[in-house]
């Protein structure tokens, strides 16, 4: 598949119009034509350029050569395992009770971000902020306080990378990024082939990836919530571990629960075709530690990630423990299952065993997943 002569037209034909868009925002904000608005990428005018179609190139749903990207990020071919390249898999939680109180699980993400900021690792971080009306939007947090405002998950897709693309190219300082697996993929593509005419991708010094099984379509889910709740009173969303099988919405005074199937209807269609549960190209990946309340699973992947984790431990910001082997096994099993399921869906969609749409894995691994 040639990627040289493709632009926004093909981006729509191959990704957006066929339900593969993840709303990562990588195509938006970098040119005057592609704009994120209410759960969609809108094309304001046709762009006739063919030479330098970055919108197409950095989309995590256009062709991904996993080996090439892995070489750039980790200096080695793609790990044909379950959860990608790892240095260490741990469990951790913040020692700061304020952060823990606000965070989804153990508060590791917020703790690492504020540490990176105070230690001068980064000057700010692009995060997802849930505004007062509970619509998630990208936000460049530049103080610990602002970072704290962004903790907790909305479970809705948010075009974080549009905010990155909007940063004036000469003014960007060192940046951190908290991203979903699809967004981490787009950033990895940018690291492999640095984009032009926007803030340098080298300014992104820290990528914290989140675990993700699916995300909700923001506009549709928002409408659904609006019909059932006073959104101004909502404090937190949560999906308690199985077998609860429900989606909880906490307000100032009580909790409303929806059956997971009911909420599942608002899942982004593209999530069915996603192979990555653990943000495999992040510096550090963070998710829930299943079955261990108040703790996070942490996958340290790069030297940058390792350095930050080490500092967090030394400074007593994080309490760290070994992840129980059963939990690790379960994580790997779930991650592999996501890959298998997604690849089968992709073949179903393309109708051709040899057409894996955007996925470029080794034939051996592909075969193993499809087996």
């Amino acid at each position: 598949m040639s990627r040289n002569a493709k632009g926004c037209k093909e981006l729509f034909e191959e990704v957006i119009d066929v339900g593969l868009c993840t709303l990562c925002g990588a195509c938006a904000g970098g040119c005057p034509y592609l704009v994120y608005y209410k759960g969609r990428i809108a094309l304001l005018d046709n762009c006739a350029r063919m030479d330098d179609a970055q919108c197409y190139e950095y989309c995590p749903r256009t062709y991904l050569d996993m080996n090439e990207i892995s070489q750039k990020i980790f200096g080695m071919p793609y790990d044909d395992g379950e959860i990608g390249t790892t240095q260490e898999v741990l469990m951790a939680r913040s020692t700061d009770s304020v952060i823990r109180g606000k965070a989804q699980y153990g508060g590791v993400v917020t703790t690492l971000l504020s540490l990176a900021l105070t230690e001068g690792f980064i000057g700010g971080a692009i995060l997802t902020k849930t505004s007062d009306d509970k619509t998630p939007s990208p936000f460049l947090a530049q103080t610990v306080d602002e970072m704290l405002q962004c903790s907790g998950s909305s479970y809705m897709a948010c075009p974080v990378l549009e905010r990155y693309n909007q940063i004036p190219k000469d003014t960007g300082g060192k940046l951190g990024l908290v991203a979903m697996p699809c967004q981490v993929l787009a950033v990895a593509k940018m690291k492999a082939h640095p984009p032009q005419n926007r803030v340098s991708i080298n300014n992104v010094r820290l990528v914290i990836g989140l675990f993700c099984t699916w995300a909700l379509s923001p506009d549709k889910f928002y409408q659904f919530l609006e019909e059932h709740l006073d959104l101004s009173k909502v404090k937190k969303f949560d999906i308690p571990p199985p077998p609860a099988n429900r989606f909880d919405v906490f307000t100032t005074s009580d909790r409303t629960s929806f059956p997971l199937e009911q909420v599942g209807k608002f899942t982004m269609p593209t999530c069915a075709y996603c192979l990555d549960m653990t943000s495999e190209f992040a510096d550090i990946s963070v998710g829930a530690a299943e079955g261990i309340e108040g703790w996070n699973t942490v996958i340290v992947r790069t030297d940058t990630g390792a350095k930050l984790m080490k500092m967090a431990r030394q400074k007593g910001k994080l309490q760290v423990d070994t992840l129980p082997p059963a939990s690790l096994a379960h994580l790997k099993e779930a991650s592999l299952l996501k890959k298998k399921r997604a690849l089968k869906e992709i073949v179903k969609k393309s109708g051709d065993m040899n057409n894996l749409l955007y996925v470029g894995l080794s034939p051996r691994f592909t075969e193993k997943l499809l087996a």
Binding site: C31, P32, Y33, K38, L43, L44, D45, A48, R49, N197
Partner: protein, 645 residues
């Protein structure tokens, strides 16, 4: 330039066709003139309004053609000679009234309608021949063949209308209306106008009487009597004449500007001794005897006329009624394909038709020379497409409409009508306008689209309409939309002028045709009084205008109004200096290296912005730029700078 009220009888003056018509009306002692502006008719009332105070007459730009015609009829009913002038589509607007007016008859003041057609639709939304309307409604019709006739016929029509007691119509076309020629002037009457509505009229004018109202069918009979009388008058009219040999190889039957083309063609071919021209000035009812008299002039007859085969059909009808022993000429014209069935004609086309019929070869000029001349002429023409002026608020408005529709993502539709903003059909308005018919039609069409929710229709509907058109033809459609809860946004492009036709005042402007201040009618107050949500936007504020439109599109409920308020740039530029000095910072403009793909000169397309091919960067054309500064807000690099001038 000569003022049309110059008191110099017997002298020749160079007048535009429309001025000649106005002068004819003045010489006839017109007291009341009303019109709605529109190409190619605008200068008739425009020139009358200029002299109205001095001449002691009344002239107004009416809200629309219907009111103009009705108002003129009102003056006629009170004994004042009155004229209504309009573009070709105007008569369609008036047709309901006309169909009744011909039955009632006019008052004691002669009443004349001037309908100006625009063959080839040079500045119109459609091409239409209004001559058949005169036939359809039984209105005596004349058409001037030159500028002198334009004046003389107009003057004569007032007498004729009074004599017949019915409305008379003069049809003109762009090439008469807007061209200039010598006109020998007549006297201007000195009489004072005195208006009085007589309670009792004679049978000729079937206005209110002390008797029982006359039944409609009987009034139709009276109308036919009037038409018969008109035919009698036309038989001896000097506006109809034949010039040519008694026995011609070919006879051209023509009228109006086509008479001029026909004369040129015969002269160019040197066929004065072989081809005769029967020129008709009175077209309906047809002077049958006069035509029959000349039918024997030739065995071959060519009809030279624009748009519809009006003369062709009418003469054929006369021939069909001739005794069976009469000779039957061969007819050439639109039916035979010798004359184009649409668009304007010119002498060359007539030359071709005559040459074809008489089997002549005529080469107006050397083919090679012709090619070279064409290439040479083209090389001097700058590459320009039809577009809005530099700094035109409509460009900014369509930019916000386009962006709002794209962001909304439901495939919003823009319905439109005629005016500068018709260019929204093309690149100037980013191809946003989807329907374009007559004045006010956009709002009417939107009424239908906005009620299709029950059929699964979810596309937002925006009807764009100019400020003058809003008053002219949109208010009933808006009321309908509010009352019947049709979901659309009426976007009024309020540039405070009837800009396309020459900045004539309209009810929103606070000034009359005669230059008197008057109470402006606030469109927002009017719309709000109807219960509509009204938002007033500054189209130059792209961001907030787009946000307002988006929000209005997502809101439920019936018809709403968004007023895009910015004065027409041409009006502003006449009064004041540009607000900004705008220039491109050549350091910041990175040309093709920018991801924008020349948004400024490829998409936004303001003529004030050019692409400097040599350096590969954007550039402001300082001669054309009006300094509105809107492009500053579209450049993704922030490379366009505005400085307060």
């Amino acid at each position: 330039m000569t003022s049309i009220d110059i008191d110099a009888p017997g002298t020749s003056q160079l007048l535009v066709g429309n001025e000649a018509i106005a002068r004819g009306a003045l010489e006839a002692g017109v007291g009341f003139a009303a019109a709605y502006p529109g190409t190619p008719s605008s200068e008739i009332l425009g020139s009358l309004a200029q002299v109205a105070k001095n001449a002691g007459i009344y002239a107004e730009w009416s809200i629309n053609e219907m009111v103009a015609m009705e108002a003129a009829a009102g003056a006629s009913f009170a004994g004042i000679r009155a004229l209504a002038a309009m573009k070709q589509n105007g008569i369609n607007v008036v047709s309901d009234f006309l169909a009744n007016l011909v039955m009632s008859g006019i008052g004691k003041g002669g009443l004349v309608l001037v309908s100006c057609d625009d063959p080839s639709a040079i500045s119109s939304s459609n091409e239409q021949d209004t001559r058949p309307i005169a036939q359809w409604l039984d209105i005596p019709l004349v058409e001037p063949g030159d500028f002198q006739e334009a004046k003389d016929m107009t003057k004569w029509l007032f007498d004729l209308a009074e004599e017949l007691g019915t409305l008379c119509m003069l049809r003109s076309v762009t090439r008469i209306a807007h061209a200039r020629g010598n006109v020998k002037l007549g006297k201007l009457p000195k009489k004072q106008h005195k208006a009085h509505f007589d309670q009792v009229h004679d049978l000729k004018n079937v206005m209110p009487t002390t008797l029982m109202p006359v039944p409609s069918s009987l009034r139709h009979y009276f109308l036919h009597v009037k038409i018969d009388k008109a035919r009698e008058k036309f038989e001896s009219s000097s506006f109809n004449r034949y010039v040519g040999p008694d026995k011609a190889d070919l006879m051209v039957i023509t009228s109006g500007n086509c008479w001029l083309y026909s004369q040129d063609a015969v002269k160019a071919l040197g066929l004065e001794n072989r081809v005769g021209i029967l020129k008709l000035g009175t077209l309906w009812p047809m002077p049958e005897k006069f035509i029959r008299k000349h039918l024997g002039n030739s065995q071959k007859i060519l009809f030279v006329e624009e748009i519809d085969p009006f003369l062709e059909r009418s003469v054929m009808e006369i021939v069909a009624n001739l005794p069976s022993s009469s000779p039957r000429p061969t007819f050439y014209g639109k039916r035979s394909g010798h004359i184009n069935a649409y668009g304007e004609l010119n002498p060359n086309m007539v030359i071709k038709a005559i040459s074809n019929i008489l089997l002549l070869t005529y080469q107006p000029r050397d083919v090679e020379y012709s090619k070279k001349a064409e290439a040479s002429a083209k090389s001097n023409v700058p590459e320009r497409s039809m577009t809005f002026c530099a700094g035109c608020p409509h460009r900014a408005t369509f930019w916000t409409i386009k962006n709002a529709i794209k962001l909304d993502g439901r495939g919003g539709i823009v319905t439109g009508d005629i005016g500068c903003y018709s260019m929204g059909l093309g690149p100037a308005g980013f191809f946003q306008v989807r329907t374009m018919h007559c004045m006010g039609a956009g709002a009417g069409v939107a009424n239908g689209l906005g009620k299709l929710g029950q059929f699964g229709f979810d596309q937002p509907v925006l009807a764009v309409v100019g400020d003058s058109t809003f008053y002219h033809a949109t208010i009933p459609a808006l009321i309908n939309g509010i009352y019947n809860q049709s979901k659309f946004i009426l976007v009024i492009l309020d540039n405070s002028a009837t800009a396309m036709t020459g900045f004539q005042p309209h009810p929103g402007t606070g000034i009359t045709a005669m230059g008197e201040p008057t109470q402006a009618i606030s469109m927002e107050a009017l719309c709000r009084s109807l219960g509509a949500r009204v938002e007033i936007c500054d189209p130059f504020d792209l961001k907030s205008t787009t946000a307002t439109l988006l929000e209005m599109m997502s809101e439920g409920g019936g018809a709403k109004v968004a007023i895009m308020r910015r004065q027409c740039e041409l009006l502003r530029a006449k009064k004041e200096k540009p607000p900004y000095r705008v220039y491109v910072d050549t350091e910041k403009c990175i040309g093709e290296a920018c991801g924008c793909d020349r948004l400024c000169t490829r998409v936004f397309l303001c003529p004030g912005l050019t692409w400097d091919k040599k350096v590969g960067k954007s550039k402001i054309d300082e001669v054309i730029c009006n300094g509105c500064g809107v492009c500053v807000d579209i450049c993704p690099q922030g490379a366009i700078v505005r400085e307060a001038a």
